[in-house]
Symmetry: C2
Subunit: 156 residues, 2 copies
DNA sequence: CGTAGTGGTAAAGTGACTTGACCATAACGC
DNA sequence: GCGTTATGGTCAAGTCACTTTACCACTACG
């Protein structure tokens, strides 16, 4: 499903699109969705089928390891209650633990379990897999350009 | 692996990240989220504050104009009931109508109202705005490269 | 024309989220 | 020190966006 036929969005059903060509929004969205789908696919392949897209946001780069729940909530732009709910799920499923923060008695720190670390690694592998495919499609030099340009946008 | 020392994600809170540099997944995700946020921001600025991110998926390129609900559901990867729910909302709020399909009496077609068309145009403006900023940051030539590379990935 | 398939909707249930409240600790004023 | 404000986390209750299930209308196919 990685290559799909070209321009699968131009079916007869949209003969007269009021809009012009896709802007950068759509162009970023679709590859990103492809990455996301691949990650979930691989996780389910390997038996982690109690995870869904919502859980994955927690594992999103750079991952929750060592983070304080409230920090994570800010980073992921969800309320701390919503995040706490997710952390509860993930803890119940054995992917992480919430441990007391030695430096702040109010606070906790997220610690990935072995199972949680596997998920993080699998996600990374899935992305690497897609990277390889894209590098093949664009050629390594141009893929490198793409990554550099995105990285620069990102503030690197 | 401790490059990206200038990255805003390397706060003291994550001194020993288990992962390396961001892979293409994160690099795509973050600019895309920036675009998404800008769109919602502009819509709310202009008084369309009864819309949220979920509604926007319906307006996502290439937009719902003329589409059959079930078609849209497939495209957006949601169940047809969930989509129908969203369409109901958007119809109630005056952004679109569901009209009978002349060619298939079972089917409907989505027709944007004037209000709905405004939203589509505003979204497009917001993206264009971001494009301009990025073109300035990267330089027009390199921004063009970025767009072309993404377009090629997309199957263009 | 009968039977399977497709498009759409309604109804009920669920659960991921919200808002609001609360307690414990920390940081800062004096 | 001691009171005040801010921060971190959690619980409880309510909500609503979605799911599942079912169903009807129409179409396609033999």
């Amino acid at each position: 499903m990685s290559r799909s036929s070209s321009s699968r969005f131009t079916k007869q059903a949209y003969p007269e699109q009021a809009f012009g060509p896709p802007l950068i929004g759509a162009l970023l969205r679709r590859p990103w969705e492809a990455v996301q789908r691949r990650m979930l696919e691989r996780l389910h392949d390997r038996g982690f089928d109690d995870l869904d897209a919502a859980h994955l946001t927690v594992f999103q780069y750079p991952g929750p390891q060592g983070a304080k729940p409230s920090e994570l909530a800010t980073r992921l732009r969800v309320s701390k209650q919503a995040l706490n709910y997710l952390l509860g799920e993930l803890e119940r499923l054995g992917y992480l633990e919430r441990r007391p923060d030695p430096d702040d008695l109010r606070s906790k720190r997220v610690a990935l379990t072995k199972r949680g670390t596997s998920v993080a690694m699998l996600m990374r592998e899935a992305v690497t897999e897609v990277e390889r495919e894209w590098a093949e499609q664009l050629g390594p030099r141009r893929f490198g350009q793409l990554r550099d340009l995105l990285h620069e946008l990102d503030g690197g």
